[in-house]
């Protein structure tokens, strides 16, 4: 019995080792977003709180925690309060299977890919329940939009993950990275380029980020599904959205860009000079680049029209992934090198 409690404590400690940096990263992602978009729009961004505005996210957190929780009249109180929790729990739970380096992973399970897909698919409940329990037209419209968007892009994303699974021959995230071992042209971004685009754009759509931010389109439905939430409830939705952004960035780095592998490996001088850098740093750098791309997208593109979002998901992405799955099958069976050499049978 004592061993079980001890084990639980150790696991809890490890979970905190992942979650606390994640929450800090979320706080500073919001800061980075405001600063970057500020510079892209020729503004300064937040620069008042602390040196150069570096304490702004802390001030925001304190503000959100101090605010009153307003429960709208006529809302379903229990569901209204449970919705943010339903939204944030899967986005945290998905981090359990992420390998930060060859040895650093909380749950080294061999269905990691499916687990990620399952966790991202149940986050939709938080959105639907939030919209419905708020007893507000805007919130309901936002949640309907969000749910249909998440459900449609999940299919394209699932197909994209099937391609990754086929290429690496494993559903364990660590094995997927190990299958890409080698210099940067051994990574899957070359043979899976269309899949990479589909996965990345579907990821942006799944996280409800611009240009797919119709669920919270502020010019049409105020703030979408979380319009009635104030204070900590809103903070949880916000936290989950940014945690999902970071998750999608890390997943893209893992699936297509060799995760913790050194990008300079195999290049003369540069490869041996960067040997000492730990793999986690590479993974985080790659993820940071994709995070930057998400913010860049938001500053650049106008919002899609709703029928365009649905069209892109169903009529473009799903056929593209299905066709590329067939191409990929031939590539694997022909043993196209350097990615699939040794697996060919033709």
């Amino acid at each position: 019995m004592i061993e079980i409690i001890l084990d639980a404590l150790i696991i809890g400690f490890k979970i905190n080792l992942i979650l606390l940096p994640l929450i800090l990263a979320v706080a500073y992602t919001t800061f980075a977003e405001r600063k970057l978009i500020g510079y892209m729009q020729l503004r300064l961004g937040p620069n008042r709180v602390g040196p150069k505005g570096w304490l702004q996210p802390i001030a925001d957190v304190v503000k959100l925690l101090m605010k009153e929780i307003v429960i709208p009249s006529g809302s379903n109180k229990a569901l209204f309060l449970i919705a943010p929790v339903l939204f944030i729990a899967p986005s945290f739970a998905a981090w359990a299977v992420i390998p930060f380096s060859a040895e650093m992973v909380l749950a080294d399970i061999n269905v990691g890919l499916l687990y990620i897909l399952a966790m991202t698919s149940i986050a939709v409940y938080g959105v639907i329940i939030a919209g419905w329990a708020s007893n507000s037209k805007y919130a309901l419209l936002g949640s309907l939009r969000s749910a249909s968007q998440i459900v449609s892009y999940e299919i394209a994303m699932g197909f994209a993950l099937v391609a990754v699974l086929m290429a690496s021959g494993s559903m364990n995230l660590g094995e997927i990275v190990k299958a890409q071992e080698g210099p940067f042209w051994h990574w899957y971004w070359i043979p899976l380029l269309p899949i990479l685009v589909v996965f990345w754009v579907s990821g942006v759509a799944e996280t409800n980020r611009a240009p797919f931010d119709l669920p919270e389109g502020e010019s049409e439905i105020v703030a979408g599904f979380h319009v009635e939430y104030a204070g900590i409830g809103f903070a949880l939705f916000f936290l989950a959205e940014y945690a999902n952004m970071i998750l999608i960035s890390v997943l893209t780095a893992l699936f297509f860009f060799g995760g913790w592998l050194n990008p300079f490996h195999g290049i003369p001088y540069l490869g041996s000079a960067t040997e000492w850098v730990p793999g986690t740093i590479w993974l985080l750098l790659k993820a940071a680049w994709f995070l930057f791309m998400m913010i860049w997208l938001r500053a650049t593109f106008p919002r899609y029209r709703y029928d365009q979002v649905m069209r892109l998901g169903w009529k473009v992405f799903i056929p593209v992934t299905v066709i590329w799955l067939i191409v990929l099958t031939f590539m694997i069976k022909a043993g196209v090198g350097p990615w699939f050499s040794g697996r060919g049978v033709l």
């Binding site: 379903n76 499916l114 409940y125 329940i129 309907l144 749910a147 459900v151």
Partner: protein
């Protein structure tokens, strides 16, 4: 008590409690959420049986997709509870009969001689390297290949049937055709009108001011469009 037992009893209790909730809770949306919780705790129990692929597929397919659609339908329905309770006493005998029949049927299938501990020995435990997915995939694509493909065809038939049921001929409605929108070019949308300069006197200064305005971009779109032909004519004349 091992960790597995703790997990088992936790999720078994949760499954039974939430299954009771499905039929006991008054709010229909809450009932659907209870059903989701039942699926989820059953998935955890399957995980204990080393069926990790099936467990996650259950979450992915039932919780992530089927129940979402279910929830939508229930939300959109306006359930009138008063009318549901009408005629309760009338149907009680029939209900009791059906319940008793089901109970007997269940007992017949699950009784001790058929499903007891002696008949169903504890399965062998596999190590962490045992992949349930691999075993399942090999079985599905070799021994049960035809059954698997037939199931796929049945699903396809269901899709075709659903589409043909909801498809009610061509709809005469106005919509946006995306290919046409993509084909639209600047020539169809924008007319550039050439205009002669209107002011004869102080011509040089006037043109300078106009180009200043367009440069700053302070004027609105309309004035920009107007200013454009002017600069064009200016370019031509010079």
């Amino acid at each position: 008590m091992t960790a597995e037992q703790i997990v088992f009893y936790l999720f078994a209790t949760l499954a039974i409690a939430s299954a009771l909730g499905v039929v006991m809770v008054r709010n229909s949306v809450q009932a659907v959420l209870c059903l989701v919780l039942t699926f989820f705790s059953m998935a955890a129990l399957w995980m204990l049986l080393e069926a990790e692929f099936l467990a996650i597929a259950l979450v992915l397919v039932y919780v992530g997709a089927v129940m979402v659609l279910f929830l939508f339908v229930v939300m959109m329905l306006d359930v009138d509870f008063a009318s549901l309770k009408q005629g309760f006493t009338r149907y009680v005998p029939l209900g009791v009969l059906v319940a008793a029949g089901l109970l007997i049927g269940l007992y017949w299938v699950l009784r001790g001689e058929v499903f007891g501990l002696e008949m169903m020995p504890e399965p062998n435990k596999h190590g962490a390297e045992h992949s349930n997915v691999e075993v399942l995939g090999k079985l599905l694509y070799t021994d049960y290949f035809y059954a698997f493909e037939v199931a796929g065809v049945i699903l396809l038939v269901a899709i075709v049937a659903a589409i043909s049921l909801t498809f009610r001929g061509r709809r005469e409605r106005r919509g946006q055709s995306v290919p046409m929108q993509h084909r639209a070019s600047k020539d169809e949308r924008l007319h550039i009108v050439k205009m002669d300069a209107e002011v004869a006197e102080f011509e040089d200064q006037q043109i300078d001011q106009d180009s200043d305005n367009t440069g700053k971009g302070k004027k609105k779109q309309k004035s920009k469009a107007k200013a454009k032909p002017k600069t064009q004519t200016k370019g031509e004349s010079s």
